[in-house]
C-alpha cells in the first residue's frame, strides 16, 4: 500500500493524441509529436498566466492612457487622444516628481552599487564566521520596505535615534534636523534608508560575479607581485563586466520606481519635495480613480525606464 501515487497517475504525455501531422519527415525520432504536446502542455500554464497578468495589462495600460477610463464609472470609455499627456506635461507636480526621482537615482545608483561591491568583497573569501556576516548584511533586504520605512520614520524624528546618535558621536556638536519635515533633508533621509535596505540585495549579485572569477587569475597576479589594488584593478574589475551592467540596470529601475518609502513616510511632502512618478500615478489612479491619467503616467514611466536601460546597455556594451 506504499506505492507512490505518481506511478499510477496518467502522464500528460499519454493524453489522447490528435490526428498525427500529415508528415514530419525531418523528425524521424519516435515520440516527436508526443514531445511537442507534453512540452507545450508544460509551458502553457506559466505562459498563459504571464500573458494574462503581464502582457495584457501592459497593452491595456498603453491603450487606456489614450482614453477617459475611470475605475468605476457609469460613462462608457471614450478615446480622447493625447489629452492625458497634455494635462500631464502641463502639471508642475509631475515635473517635480521627475526631478525628485532623478535626484534619488543619481545619488543611489553609484553609492549603492559601490557599497554593495564593498560588502561583497568583504565576504567573498571564506573565513571563520563568513556565513554570519553574509546573513547580517542581507538582513535589511528580508525586512519589508514598509517595515523599514516605518522604523526609520521613528528613528528620523527630531527626538529620534538618529539625532541622538549624531549628538552622542559628535559630543553634542551636531544638532540633528527634523529630517522628514524639512524639504531640504527629506529626500536625503529617504535616500539613506533606501541604500541601507537594498544594498544587501545587490551585494548578492556582485558576489555571484566575484565567485565566477577563476582563482587561478589571482594566483597568477600574486606570482607577478601585483598589489591588492592592482589585483582589483586588473583582475576583479574586468571580471565583473557583465555583473556591472546587471547591477547598474537593476538599481536604476529600482530607483526610478521609488514608492513604498514615500507612501509610508512623507506622502510626497513636505512641499512635494519627495513625490515620485509612481507615487503620483498611484495617487491619481487609486485615490482619484482616474485610471486613464494614471495609465498615462505609467506609460511615460515605462518609456523612461526603457530609454535609460537602452542608454546604459549602449554605454556598457562590449567594445571589441
Amino acid at each position: 500500500m506504499t506505492t507512490t501515487p505518481l506511478d499510477t497517475r496518467p502522464r500528460p504525455a499519454a493524453a489522447p493524441t490528435p490526428a498525427p501531422l500529415p508528415s514530419a519527415p525531418r523528425h524521424r525520432r519516435a515520440g516527436f509529436l508526443r514531445e511537442q504536446i507534453s512540452g507545450w502542455g508544460m509551458i502553457a500554464p506559466a505562459a498563459v498566466l504571464l500573458l494574462l497578468f503581464v502582457f495584457l495589462p501592459a497593452i491595456l495600460g498603453f491603450g487606456l492612457a489614450f482614453t477617459n477610463a475611470r475605475l468605476i464609472s457609469p460613462r462608457p470609455v471614450e478615446f480622447v487622444g493625447t489629452d492625458n499627456f497634455a494635462r500631464l506635461f502641463a502639471d508642475p507636480t509631475f515635473w517635480r516628481a521627475l526631478l525628485n526621482v532623478t535626484y534619488f537615482a543619481v545619488v543611489v545608483v553609484p553609492v549603492q552599487s559601490a557599497l554593495a561591491l564593498a560588502m561583497a568583497l568583504l565576504i567573498n573569501k571564506k573565513f571563520r564566521g563568513v556565513n554570519f556576516f553574509r546573513t547580517v548584511y542581507f538582513l535589511p533586504v528580508v525586512t519589508s520596505m514598509v517595515v523599514v520605512s516605518l522604523l526609520w520614520l521613528f528613528m528620523y524624528r527630531k527626538d529620534g535615534l538618529i539625532n541622538e546618535l549624531l549628538s552622542t558621536f559628535s559630543f553634542g556638536l551636531i544638532q540633528g534636523a527634523d529630517w522628514l519635515n524639512d524639504p531640504a533633508t527629506a529626500m536625503p533621509a529617504i535616500i539613506a534608508l533606501s541604500i541601507w535596505q537594498a544594498a544587501g540585495f545587490h551585494m548578492i549579485i556582485w558576489l555571484a560575479g566575484l565567485q565566477s572569477i577563476s582563482g587561478e587569475l589571482y594566483e597568477a597576479a600574486q606570482l607577478d607581485g601585483a598589489s591588492r589594488w592592482h589585483q582589483f584593478r586588473y583582475v576583479t574589475w574586468p571580471g565583473l563586466k557583465h555583473t556591472r551592467s546587471l547591477v547598474l540596470v537593476t538599481i536604476t529601475i529600482q530607483a526610478l520606481g521609488l514608492f513604498d518609502q514615500v507612501s509610508v513616510m512623507t506622502q510626497g511632502g513636505p512641499l512635494d519635495s519627495t513625490t515620485t512618478i509612481i507615487y503620483e500615478a498611484v495617487r491619481s489612479g487609486f485615490k482619484q480613480q482616474e485610471t486613464s491619467y494614471a495609465s498615462a503616467i505609467s506609460l511615460v514611466f515605462f518609456v523612461l525606464v526603457l530609454l535609460i536601460s537602452a542608454v546604459q546597455r549602449y554605454l556598457t556594451r562590449e567594445k571589441d
Binding site: 505518481l6 502522464r11 500528460p12 504525455a13 514531445e35 507534453s38 508544460m42 509551458i43 500554464p45 506559466a46 505562459a47 498563459v48 498566466l49 494574462l52 497578468f53 503581464v54 495589462p57 501592459a58 495600460g61 487606456l64 475605475l71 564593498a118 560588502m119 568583504l122 556565513n131 556576516f133 553574509r134 546573513t135 535589511p140 528580508v142 525586512t143 519589508s144 520596505m145 514598509v146 517595515v147 523599514v148 516605518l150 522604523l151 528613528m155 527626538d159 535615534l161 541622538e164 558576489l207 555571484a208 565567485q211 557583465h242 546587471l246 529601475i253 514608492f259 513604498d260 509610508v264 509612481i278 500615478a281 487609486f286 485610471t291 494614471a294 505609467s298 506609460l299 515605462f302 525606464v305
Partner: protein, 280 residues
C-alpha cells in the same frame, strides 16, 4: 575584520533597536534613546506591547491571510515555473527559443507600471463561485484572495533561475529514464526536480519575500478587513494616538517569521544565487 564588523553594525542596528523597543513602554524607549540602552533589553521589559497589538489590530487574521497567500503563491510558483523551465530547457519543443525570449522580455516591465491597468483588468475578469450546487459567475476579482495570488504565480525571473539550473544537470539522465519508459512528466518529477534543490530554495525565497511584503497591490485591490495581509495592518497604528512600542511590536511580529525562514534557507539561497550565474 574591523570594517566587516562596522558594516554589520550599520546593517543590524535598526533591526536590533526595533526588537528591543518592542519590549519596552513608550516612556522608556525615549528615555533610553541617548544611551547604549537603546539597543539592550534592559529596564522595564515585558510583552505588554504584543498583547496590545492583538487588541488594536486583527493581527492573527492578517498573519493567517499572509501565510496562506504566500504559501500558495510559493508552492504554485515553484510548480508552474519549474515545469515551464523544464520544457524550455530539456525538451525539443518547436518555437521554444521564441517563447523563452518573450518570457525574459517581461523582466523589463516594472510591476508599478502594470499595477493600475491590472486593477482595471482584474475588475473585468469573471469570478466563479460554487454556491451549494450551483455555479455562480460574477464579475470582478477585487476584494478576493485570488487577486492577491494568481497574478503573481508565473514569474519570468523564477523561470530564468530554474532554466539556468536545469541546464547544469546532465541530459543523459533524461535519456536513461526515457529508455526505461518514463514519460516527460515523470522525468520532471522524479529525475530533474529532486536534483534542483538549491534553485527551488532560491525561487521559494524570491517568491515568498514579495508575497509577504506586498503593500501597494493589496492597498489597491483589497477592501475587506478579513482579507487583508499583514503589511496593511500598519495603517491601523496611525489612526488614533500612536504608541511606538506597539508599532515596534507589530513590526517585529511581521518581520521575525521572515528572518527565521531566511536563516533556515540562508545557506542554500546565497550559495545557489552565487553559483547560478545571475550574471546577465
Amino acid at each position: 575584520m574591523l570594517v566587516r564588523i562596522l558594516f554589520a553594525a550599520v546593517a543590524a542596528f535598526p533591526i536590533v533597536f526595533m526588537l528591543v523597543s518592542s519590549l519596552k513602554p513608550d516612556t522608556q524607549i525615549f528615555g533610553d534613546m541617548s544611551s547604549v540602552a537603546a539597543f539592550l533589553p534592559v529596564g522595564n521589559i515585558s510583552f505588554d506591547n504584543y498583547a496590545a497589538v492583538f487588541d488594536r489590530v486583527p493581527a492573527a487574521r492578517f498573519l493567517v491571510n499572509s501565510i496562506g497567500i504566500s504559501a500558495v503563491t510559493v508552492v504554485l510558483g515553484i510548480f508552474i515555473n519549474s515545469l515551464c523551465a523544464f520544457a524550455l530547457s530539456r525538451m525539443e519543443v518547436r518555437g521554444k527559443r521564441v517563447v523563452f525570449t518573450v518570457i525574459l522580455a517581461t523582466l523589463i516591465v516594472p510591476f508599478q507600471t502594470l499595477a493600475l491597468p491590472l486593477v482595471w483588468w482584474v475588475n473585468q475578469l469573471p469570478y466563479f463561485e460554487l454556491n451549494g450546487f450551483s455555479l455562480e459567475i460574477s464579475k470582478g476579482w477585487l476584494d478576493t484572495y485570488q487577486v492577491q495570488i494568481i497574478p503573481f504565480i508565473a514569474n519570468a525571473f523564477s523561470i530564468y533561475l530554474f532554466h539556468q539550473y536545469f541546464e547544469s544537470i546532465p541530459k543523459e539522465l533524461d535519456e536513461a529514464a526515457r529508455i526505461d519508459g518514463a514519460g516527460w512528466f515523470k522525468i520532471y518529477r522524479q529525475v530533474v526536480m529532486p536534483l534542483a534543490g538549491p534553485a527551488t530554495a532560491t525561487v521559494a525565497i524570491l517568491t515568498f519575500l514579495p508575497a509577504w511584503n506586498s503593500y501597494l497591490w493589496p492597498l489597491m485591490v483589497v477592501q475587506s478587513e478579513e482579507l487583508r495581509p499583514v503589511m496593511i495592518g500598519i495603517q491601523y497604528f496611525f489612526q488614533l494616538n500612536v504608541s511606538w512600542g506597539e508599532v515596534m511590536a507589530y513590526a517585529s511580529l511581521i518581520t521575525v517569521p521572515v528572518v527565521v525562514l531566511f536563516i533556515a534557507f540562508q545557506r542554500s539561497f546565497i550559495n545557489s544565487i552565487a553559483s547560478s550565474g545571475v550574471k546577465g
